[in-house]
Amino acid sequence: MKLLIYSLISFLIFNSSLIMAFIAGKVIFKKENINLSSNYSIFLSVLLIFYFLSILAFNLFSFNTKYFGYGILILPFLFMPFIIGRISKYERINFYANMQIITLIWSFLAGVLIILGIS
């Protein structure tokens, strides 16, 4: 149970960090400094990896428990960045960046609801 809670907390931490980082990214990427943009996107990639790992960890630790349904609930968020990445176009990059932020906010809210449900 402890591991389940820890994985959910880490999910919320990485999720909120990603929301803030993507919002800050909208300013950073606008500057069109290639080095800065590249380094910042590496930072975002690392955050995304931890975000994915936390979703997987929550699913793993909720397996065979009564909270397994919650794991299924947040599992789609694992694929959302890839789906958005697949359909996105450079010409409408702001729109897709906003879509990414919105899905992260949804997943954060889902995480909050789950923590309330468990407690």
């Binding site: 590249s38 995304l48 890839f82 990445g85 697949r86 450079y90 897709y96």
Partner: protein, 272 residues
């Protein structure tokens, strides 16, 4: 930037295709030498390539393919033999066109880039899937850096200076470009068995961008009965500008003449 080297009444043409984020500049000397050997040579800048990094981010691999295919069709109307020659992404493009057009007379695939696994690929390449398949690919570009695909230090210094001026190629490789190249490579790998054209594969065993794995894959999987695979040892990725450039020309000319139905004396008669 585009170039054409033509002779009167020639029946043999080579369409050259440059590499990812490169330009016809990198193929010019190679093209000149093929022209000296009796071939008409054409090379145009692929869509999105040039000076502005924004253009390339908007370009899909289908744009490169459609453009190169149109160039090929135009040449095919005027020549009885049209060969495709490409370096890096250009080689993948040449394979893609050959998969669709059975009338391609032959292919020269130099430093074919089906996999990005060369020794200069950055240490953080394990993050590439995250960058490639999410919207981060529109923001991430990695800088062209030493050795710029060139082993010869004198040429490398010149290329480095030209890249800083941003005149002959982009000095950054946008992740979108890598994404499109890998998407095109995926398509080519799927239907590589359809290639039964004569093919010459040249690849350096010290290629900094793509290892011999790509060239091995092409050699093992094409259905061509006439196929030749040359591993070069004194160059990096940009073979046509590096230490092995003369050897590359020599082998290319030998290959093209060996598969051409015109011999040199016939051609001289035609052209005179």
């Amino acid at each position: 930037m585009n170039f054409e080297f033509k002779n009167e009444n020639n029946q043999r043409a080579v369409l050259l295709l440059h590499g990812m984020t490169g330009s016809p500049f990198e193929m010019k000397q190679y093209g000149k030498n093929l022209h000296k050997a009796g071939f008409d040579v054409y090379c145009s800048c692929l869509p999105g390539h040039g000076k502005d990094i924004k253009n390339i981010k908007k370009t899909k691999w289908q744009d490169w393919f459609n453009f190169a295919e149109e160039e090929y069709k135009t040449l095919k109307k005027n020549y009885s033999e049209v060969y495709l020659g490409g370096i890096c992404m250009g080689a993948v493009l040449a394979l893609a066109i050959a998969e669709k057009h059975k009338d391609v007379s032959g292919i020269i695939a130099i430093s074919t880039t089906l996999f990005l696994d060369g020794w200069t690929i950055p240490w953080y390449s394990f993050l590439f899937p995250m960058g490639l398949h999410t919207i981060l690919r529109f923001y991430y570009s990695f800088p062209e850096q030493d050795p710029y695909g060139i082993k010869n230090e004198i040429v490398r210094r010149k290329i480095s200076a030209l890249l800083k001026e941003n005149t002959v190629a982009l000095n950054y490789i946008p992740m979108t470009c890598v994404y499109e190249l890998l998407e095109m490579s995926k398509q080519v790998r799927k239907s590589i068995k359809n290639i039964n054209h004569p093919i010459l594969i040249m690849h350096s065993n010290r290629d900094d961008l793509t290892s011999l794995k790509s060239a091995d894959f092409v050699y093992k999987n094409v259905s061509s009965t006439v196929k030749d695979y040359i591993i070069l040892k004194n160059s990096y990725h940009l073979i046509v500008m590096d230490n092995d450039k003369d050897l590359a020309v020599q082998k290319s000319v030998e290959f093209l003449n060996s598969i051409s139905s015109f011999n040199n004396s016939e051609l001289k008669q035609l052209m005179s």
